[in-house]
């Protein structure tokens, strides 16, 4: 039995504030294709009396933590956080999907959920001249796990380095010393491991006297900004730094990127943090780029289904991935390039393009890659 004290849970998560309007489920991108129904979960918790059984609630693992539910709630209830907490209750009992177990164990052992060795963490740098934080630098570039190890996302990290060096940003990396930010660990429900990671990271940052940093991934950006307790760190997503450089004309573009581009708002940049404009400012500043918008953009952006640990979990309805719907929406705009600014979005969207067999019509690129091609 996977019982939780639902009354206490409901109180802790302010679920009694819920008026059952259904805006959460109405906006939930998963609710249209799986059993996940955030409102119903809240209602069942409320009426369960003392004990709520989590047995068989596989749909809890469908949630991508895109935060649409929270952003739409008129009573400021946060169904997404409640779902994360329910996952925690399951994880505490050791009842987790083998994939999740592997990701969590790998993060614990190797500082990344990808089961990659720590000593390979800076291999992406290759022959690029990148400063280490130990050499002294104004800003930390927190690279993140996928950009460090995934061959496809490594190209994004390399593009960011080239761009920011050209723009005169004084930054360094932590190389092998860098460890996972813990964002996905927390969202997979491993609250204890997340706390440990956060403590270790803060120690590390303190040791280097780091006050300002930027990240490749909106997920790391969000974790440092909101999940780390009162760290006083000034965290930016790289698109914010890039937009500033572009606006101040600090980057000299020597070439044109003459393509029609549409931009997919990553949830952890947009819905979670309201960063809608900077990525667009950066894109518009790249010579040749013609930016077109999908009907669902900004606050209405459709999740790619890569967040909340879903990079390691198929979900209860693996047949149609949201990323495939999203690619279709991008195709409808007539764009040749589907730009995004998140490693997970990049990977899921690219996968969807392959799956739909439209590689000849649409290419998925990170904004940094587009900008770097115009250097």
């Amino acid at each position: 039995m996977l019982q939780i004290d639902s009354r206490q849970f409901a109180q802790e998560h302010d679920l009694y504030a819920c008026i059952q309007c259904g805006k959460c489920t109405g906006g939930c991108p998963l609710a249209l294709k799986t059993r996940l129904n955030p409102r119903m979960i809240i209602y069942r918790l409320l009426v369960a009396g003392n004990g709520f059984n989590l047995e068989g609630r596989d749909e809890l693992w469908d949630c991508t933590t895109c935060s649409t539910c929270y952003s739409r709630c008129p009573k400021q209830v946060n169904p997404m956080e409640a779902i994360i907490a329910l996952r925690s209750a399951i994880v505490e009992k050791g009842r987790v999907h083998p994939n999740v177990k592997t990701a969590l164990e790998s993060t614990f052992r190797h500082g990344n959920p990808l089961t990659m060795p720590r000593e390979d963490r800076a291999k992406w740098v290759g022959d690029l001249p990148v400063k280490l934080m130990s050499d002294g630098a104004e800003m930390l570039y927190f690279v993140g796990c996928s950009p460090s190890y995934d061959p496809r996302v490594q190209q994004v990290a390399r593009a960011i380095v080239r761009l920011f060096q050209q723009g005169g940003v004084d930054f360094g990396i932590l190389a092998e010393e860098e460890s996972c930010c813990g964002s996905e660990v927390r969202r997979l429900g491993e609250a204890g491991l997340f706390e440990m990671i956060a403590e270790e990271n803060q120690e590390l940052f303190k040791g280097y006297g780091i006050a300002r940093m930027f990240t490749t991934s909106p997920h790391c950006f969000n974790a440092f900004k909101h999940d780390y307790p009162g760290n006083g760190l000034q965290v930016q997503h790289y698109t914010q730094v890039l937009a500033d450089l572009v606006e101040r004309r600090q980057i000299e573009f020597g070439r044109k990127f003459e393509k029609t581009v549409t931009y997919h708002d990553p949830c952890y940049l947009g819905k979670h943090n309201g960063v809608f404009d900077e990525p667009r400012v950066a894109l518009r500043g790249i010579p040749g780029v013609k930016l077109v918008e999908m009907d669902r953009s900004r606050q209405k952006s459709l999740c790619c289904e890569g967040g909340g640990g879903r990079m390691w979990l198929e979900g209860t309805n693996p047949g149609t991935r949201l990323a495939q719907w999203r690619v279709q929406e991008a195709l409808d705009t007539g764009a040749e390039i589907l730009a995004t600014a998140c490693p997970f979005c990049l990977l899921t969207l690219e996968e969807a393009v392959k799956h739909l067999n439209v590689e000849d019509r649409l290419r998925v690129m990170d904004i940094a890659e587009i900008a770097a091609q115009a250097l």
Partner: protein, 448 residues
């Protein structure tokens, strides 16, 4: 500055601020009791929000048919001095002896000469090019205008933000409006005038603002022309409105209409926690009108709770459902486009199913909220604002028209969202309280 008053032995006067139905009713009651009233209205005409409505719930009375006679009465009443296109600029003194400064904005039209013929507006360079506030932006007017045909006073006003001459300093070789005016009423040399009045009591009836649904971008208002507000729907439905009562958006007649309740009401995330009290019934009425004017169209109302608490409200709600209007429980979360149609995404909470519902017209039931300038008005009269932002009454049950400042009273929606019958009753109560205050002042004057 000229001082006009009712002091020194004369019967004391009252000031009513705001010329909507609350202010009009309060002014009429005080004036009928024999006291002088200065009725100050910021816009060119009295009438307020009620003038914009087509029908009123639950009886389906034509709004202007019941409002216009009151407007006319207020305009003709020997004891009421209308100060339209004017704003209160200063208040000093105390109950029984207030001195109120009033700024009269220049209309650039001599109100004594203007006959309201409209030739100026026809001649105006911007004729048909300036969005009409009264018509919620659906129709366009000229830079010289009367807000609506039943306006009181029925005189023209030059819109200083639109007028080519006033914004650019030059409007061709001659003034087209001036040339067209047979009464020689147009006068661009007018300037702001200040008057001061002495009054014994003040009724604040400054009304409310309507929620701007652009603050909920997921609903697509301002982006999809087929997404409109309930206020816009009133103008479409009005026989005297810009479409002569024809409900047609973007040139076609809608077949699938979705109404969405509680847009900008009951919403803590927007800092608008209160129920606006009118939307449930306003939507029921509009759903009825839609059903009536769009034969065969599918009409769906998405709601969280239906609040049909007033006299005849539940019966009206019954009637509308029985006409075939479909009520579905669940508040939609977002609207997007798929081909020619809009898609309303919601959960039918009674089925527990997430859905996509197609629509070619979506009407957002926009809530009522305190006016943007409530802080300034509060400061002017020494009023307090409640946690919901509306002006705070002295006691929530026993003294809902008393402001806590002796001699200053609250009427209508400036104190909280109300429907028309509640507003009229509240205004009558405020007038009654003001009259008590004025009668006391009179007694004191006599004793002195």
């Amino acid at each position: 500055m000229s001082a006009r008053s009712g002091s020194n032995g004369k019967a004391p006067a009252a000031l009513v601020v705001g010329g909507g139905i609350a202010g009009i009713q309060a002014a009429l009651d005080i004036a009928d009791a024999g006291f002088q009233v200065y009725l100050v209205e910021r816009s060119p005409s009295i009438g307020g929000r009620m003038a914009q409505l087509d029908k009123t719930f639950p009886t389906l009375d034509c709004s202007s048919c019941i409002l216009t006679p009151k407007m006319v009465d207020a305009g003709r009443h020997p004891n009421i001095e209308l100060l339209t296109y004017s704003e209160v600029s200063s208040v000093s003194g105390q109950a029984g002896d207030f001195r109120v400064g009033i700024k009269k904005k220049p209309r650039y039209v001599d109100v004594d000469k203007c006959r309201g013929c409209g030739l100026c507006a026809e001649a105006c360079r911007l004729s048909g090019r300036v969005p009409s506030d009264f018509n919620a932006g659906i129709a366009k007017r000229a830079a010289i205008y009367v807000p609506f045909p039943q306006a009181v006073p029925l005189v023209y006003t030059v819109d200083p933000e639109a007028c080519v001459y006033l914004t650019r300093g030059v409007c061709g070789k001659t003034f087209k409006c001036k040339d067209a005016c047979p009464a020689d009423a147009i006068d661009f040399t007018q300037t702001e005038q200040y008057v001061e009045v002495e009054v014994g009591a003040i009724v604040v009836a400054t009304g409310f603002d309507v929620f701007d649904p652009r603050l909920k971008p997921e609903l697509g208002y301002g982006f999809y022309p087929e997404v409109i507000t309930t206020l816009e729907f009133e103008r479409y439905a009005s026989a005297s409105g810009p479409t002569a009562g024809k409900i047609s958006v973007n040139g076609h007649v809608p077949r699938k209409v979705v109404f969405i309740q509680c847009v900008g009401s009951r919403d803590r995330s927007l800092g608008l926690p209160n129920c606006s009290r009118v939307c449930c019934m306003a939507v029921a009425k509009q759903a009825h009108l839609a059903h009536d004017r769009l034969p065969g169209a599918e009409i769906t109302v998405f709601y969280m709770d239906i609040r049909a608490f007033g006299k005849g409200f539940e019966e009206f709600y019954d009637r509308v459902r029985e006409e075939g209007v479909l009520y579905r429980r669940g508040n939609p979360s977002e609207i997007y486009r798929r081909g020619e149609m809009l898609v309303v995404r919601a959960e039918d909470t009674l089925m527990g199913e997430a859905l996509e519902v197609e629509a070619d017209l979506v009407v957002l039931a926009v809530g009522m909220l305190p006016r943007r300038d409530a802080d300034q008005v509060a400061q002017l009269f020494g009023l307090q604002r409640g946690t919901d932002g509306y002006f705070q009454e002295e006691h929530p049950k026993m003294s809902t028209v008393e402001s806590g400042i002796p001699g200053v009273f609250l009427a209508g929606c400036c104190q909280g969202a109300k429907d028309i019958p509640d507003t009229v009753a509240h205004a009558k109560a405020a007038a009654s309280a003001a009259l008590i205050s004025l009668a006391r002042t009179g007694v004191n004057h006599a004793a002195n």
